[in-house]
């Protein structure tokens, strides 16, 4: 039987990929950020996930507004990264697990989630950067799939409103959890939620950060995630910033973990680029 070991929420901004490419991890600016990860990696080393289900949002690499999914689930044997237009190195591909993916898709559709199934899917920085953060020993630009886990990318629309509500995202996460737990083959599964926390890239409010709201979100993600489902999309934009709504990816992740979790590691650092960065690792009870 598949077993959910727990979840990791992490920031995914592209400049982290740039810092990794340039080896800046110990620079004064970057050190506090990269220092947040060793405890998470220690836990992963002990709990040995076989599969990572990565909840993220595509930023215009695989999806455009001609066909914009609310929820899209990968079902490919391999996922490639690609040029996003601003010069990040393209990282090595990721091995999928189509059988596991199709099990998720069957279960999610039976549970009345109207997902898009993707037998080809390019994964952008929001998928790639978190993998690089969790697995820094993998040479990111080497050939083939050197990553120690198979992956299922799940993309959530946090780009174009109407975005799915916090309540719907939390339910989606719960359904992903049910789907995984009903998989008959043995596998340790890690859930990742990427993006956030508070940030806003555009408009007069560019640079907006809301530490109080971020800390409240981190608290509630641990002890009472349902409390976060009361916010409307507009409230989330107001409180977390236009791009801070990527918090939804964390909420999907949290939903998959089940009622109770034990915090493994929690850290928060402002600023990384224009963003309040955070890392939260939660062991499933």
């Amino acid at each position: 039987m598949a077993h959910i070991i727990g979840g990791v929420g992490t920031t995914h901004v592209p400049s982290i990929g740039g810092a990794i490419a340039k080896g800046k991890q110990t620079d004064e600016y970057w050190r506090p950020f990269f220092d947040m990860f060793p405890p998470v990696r220690g836990w992963l080393g002990r709990s040995k996930p076989d599969i990572a289900v990565v909840i993220y949002n595509d930023h215009g690499l695989n999806f455009f507004l001609d066909k914009m999914p609310t929820f899209a689930v990968g079902a490919a044997a391999e996922y490639r990264n690609a040029d996003e237009g601003w010069g990040l190195p393209v990282v090595r591909s990721f091995a999928g697990d189509p059988e596991f993916s199709w099990h998720l898709i069957e279960s999610l559709v039976a549970d009345e989630f109207d997902i898009v199934s993707c037998q080809e899917m390019l994964v952008d920085h929001a998928f790639v950067v978190p993998m690089q953060l969790l697995y820094p020993d993998v040479d990111p630009t080497g050939a083939g799939a050197g990553w120690p886990v198979r992956v299922v990318p799940i993309s959530v629309n946090t780009v174009q409103h109407p975005i799915p509500s916090a309540a719907r995202c939390y339910k989606f996460g719960k359904a992903i959890g049910r789907a995984i737990r009903s998989y008959q083959q043995d596998a340790n599964v890690l859930i990742m939620g990427t993006g956030g926390l508070s940030h806003q890239l555009e408009g007069k409010r560019a640079g907006f950060i809301n530490k109080d709201f971020d800390r409240l979100c981190l608290d509630r993600l641990v002890d009472d995630p349902a409390a976060l489902t009361g916010y409307s999309s507009e409230e989330l934009v107001e409180l977390a910033g236009s791009q801070g709504v990527e918090l939804l990816n964390w909420l999907v992740m949290r939903g998959a973990l089940g009622e109770h979790v034990s915090p493994v590691s929690r850290s928060y650092h402002v600023p990384i680029s224009n963003t309040a960065s955070a890392v939260l690792a939660l062991a499933a009870a």
Binding site: V13, S15, P32, H59, G60, L61, F64, L65, D66, A82, D83, E84, G85, W86, G87, V159, Q160, H161, P162, Q200, L201, E202, G203, K204, R205, A206, G207, F208, I209, K211, E234, V237, E238, G241, S242, Q243, Y268, H269, V270, P271, S273, N274
Partner: protein
């Protein structure tokens, strides 16, 4: 519907904006491809015409002005691909929109350092 969602200094990218900005965002989306970036740099006017930009969008592209691009229906994720052509990052974009130097914009963020 858009009218109900007014947050100071923020434009929610919803259907009405997405509709207005479709051609502009499609042009920016094309910049995932290096060949398209090069084609744009060779003949910006022809490239904008090919994507059917309206005059407001064409002017905003010409001015490299983020606020104008947003007004013209641009989404910041696609616009970032346009900015990337010129080596500009989200801090450059933030500085331009808030009328600061990049140093001042970054310093304002650093003030909130944890």
């Amino acid at each position: 519907m858009a009218a109900s969602k007014t947050i100071d200094g923020t434009m929610i990218f919803d259907g009405s904006v997405a509709r207005r900005g479709y051609a502009l965002n499609k042009l920016c989306y094309s910049f995932n491809d290096r060949a398209n970036r090069e084609e744009f740099l060779r003949d910006e006017g022809a490239y904008c015409a090919k994507y059917g930009l309206n005059p407001q969008q064409r002017a905003a592209i010409e001015h490299r002005n983020v606020m104008e691009l947003l007004e013209a229906g641009g989404n910041v994720y696609y616009l970032a691909k346009f900015a990337g052509i010129f080596g500009l990052d989200v801090q450059d974009i933030g500085a331009q929109q808030t009328g600061m130097t990049k140093e001042a914009f970054s310093a304002k963020l650093m003030e909130q350092r944890t």
